[in-house]
Point group: C2
Chain length 280, copies 2
């Protein structure tokens, strides 16, 4: 596997691959790779002529009170893991190279960014849109891979690509979980033993929602109340949101039609975890 | 020359040309083509395997009190002119196809969009950025051609392309003028005989600025005052701005260093004309 540190070098390779008509897969990550990332990478490796995995803790998608400075990093470990699943290139740019002095472009995708994480993390998805647009333009992938774990991000990217006619196919990949059901996340490393144990209520509550839905329940407020009640059985759980939204528009629904996403964000001693389940 | 009306068809052709490794030139226009547009098209035809000229009066770059509804249109004439200079494809989409129901993406390029036309036409360059990003993604051109007439637009596009790493080369093409010096513009058709005559002060004042600059004058306020005084010799002229800005950053300068742009916007009986000259 080859390590690319420079934006200019990445752009030159993207142009070269395009001229050679190679089908390129892109897996954008913030590093500290876990099995969720590796599931994206494995799928990319299987579907493309070559795969680029980017590792970039994108500063503009973090709010001033968020965990940018302490976000976990392990470049050596990441490169070993990515190489082991067949990734061909790791693109690991510096922030100063991605956002040089005088950088001024901003983006927003109205409609899908106001609810859920967009409501509490102001500017988050705007920063996500900018960095992904840059990565798409640099790598020029045919396919880009995103985890369903960040369900709203996936919806935002799909809307961005559709609105701007970006020539890339967006693949959503199912959530990968620990054996006990906790969704894999780089931020799980923040959890102490007590939080780690209590965090199991997230997936449990989503499974409860799925059971209710599968049994025919279509009152969103009732399903959300059941989810909330289960999460509240964990004394350390501080709920940020429990919401049921349309899977494409991210707009809250009262009675689910088509595919919906039941999504939760919960803090445990300051560590913010998100999880979701698709229904219908 | 082939006429493409559908966004989906344009996207499919862009993908096909990319797979065939064709060097594509793009000339984005709002139609009602004049010799300025044709100079862009001729250069594109000479430098690329094939040239796409787009004709789209982009609604989102017009303010509510601007001339969207009455903007001059002549599709048959445009197609004949574009075909005559060797353009291969005219892309003429409908607004509903470019901005379907639910469209929500917005963009801004801070730094270059606040001065000059950006100050008086709120939202104008934001709309320009969105439509050009869409056109770049649909056509996937190697080169895109813009007139120096819209000098700030050229600076905005260059900054957008740099910030977002868009894989397109931006070519700026000198202003084309009528025999008497008036810059070619689709909006010149709005001018009655009296305004048409008096509008000559624009180019005259810019030539005066160039003469002062070439003679060594480096006091921007003095050069601007001379330009303003000359424009004011036309009784119908209502000055919106006379400004000297850095040619890259579009920031006002007091003493020109490197390349600067002396730019003017003047109304004649409601018709807004812009013109500029590069100095240094």
């Amino acid at each position: 596997m080859e390590l690319i540190r420079s934006v200019a070098e990445m752009a030159a390779l993207g142009r070269k691959w395009r001229a050679e008509n190679l089908r390129v897969g892109l897996v954008p990550t913030m590093g500290y790779l876990h099995e969720g990332h590796l599931a994206l990478a494995q799928r990319a490796v299987g579907e493309n002529d070559l795969t680029v995995l980017s590792i970039f803790v994108n500063p503009i998608q973090f709010g001033p009170s968020e965990d940018l400075a302490v976000y976990p990093r392990d470049l050596d470990g990441d490169l070993a893991k990515a190489g082991a699943v067949g990734v061909n290139y790791a693109f690991v740019p510096e922030a100063e190279d991605m956002y040089p002095q005088g950088f001024g472009t901003s983006m927003d995708v109205a409609g899908v960014t106001e609810t859920l994480c967009g409501a509490s993390r102001k500017g988050h998805f705007q920063g996500v849109c900018v960095v992904l647009t840059k990565l798409f333009n640099l790598v020029q992938p045919a396919n880009a891979y995103f985890g369903q774990k960040d369900g709203q991000q996936l919806a935002v990217v799909r809307k961005l690509v559709k609105d701007l006619n970006i020539p890339v196919h967006i693949a959503g990949v199912p959530i990968v979980r620990e054996a006990d059901g906790l969704a894999k996340s780089s931020r799980n490393v923040y959890l102490d033993a007590e939080c780690r144990e209590q965090a199991l209520v997230l997936n449990q509550s989503l499974q409860l929602a799925k059971r209710l839905f599968d049994e025919g329940e279509r009152d969103a407020s009732l399903i959300k109340a059941a989810v909330q009640a289960h999460i509240e059985t964990a004394p350390l759980a501080q709920i940020e949101y429990v919401e049921m939204v349309d899977a494409v528009t991210m707009q809250p629904v009262r009675r689910p039609e088509g595919q919906v996403m039941l999504a939760v964000a919960v803090r445990f001693k300051g560590t913010r975890l998100i999880d979701n389940v698709l229904l219908g």
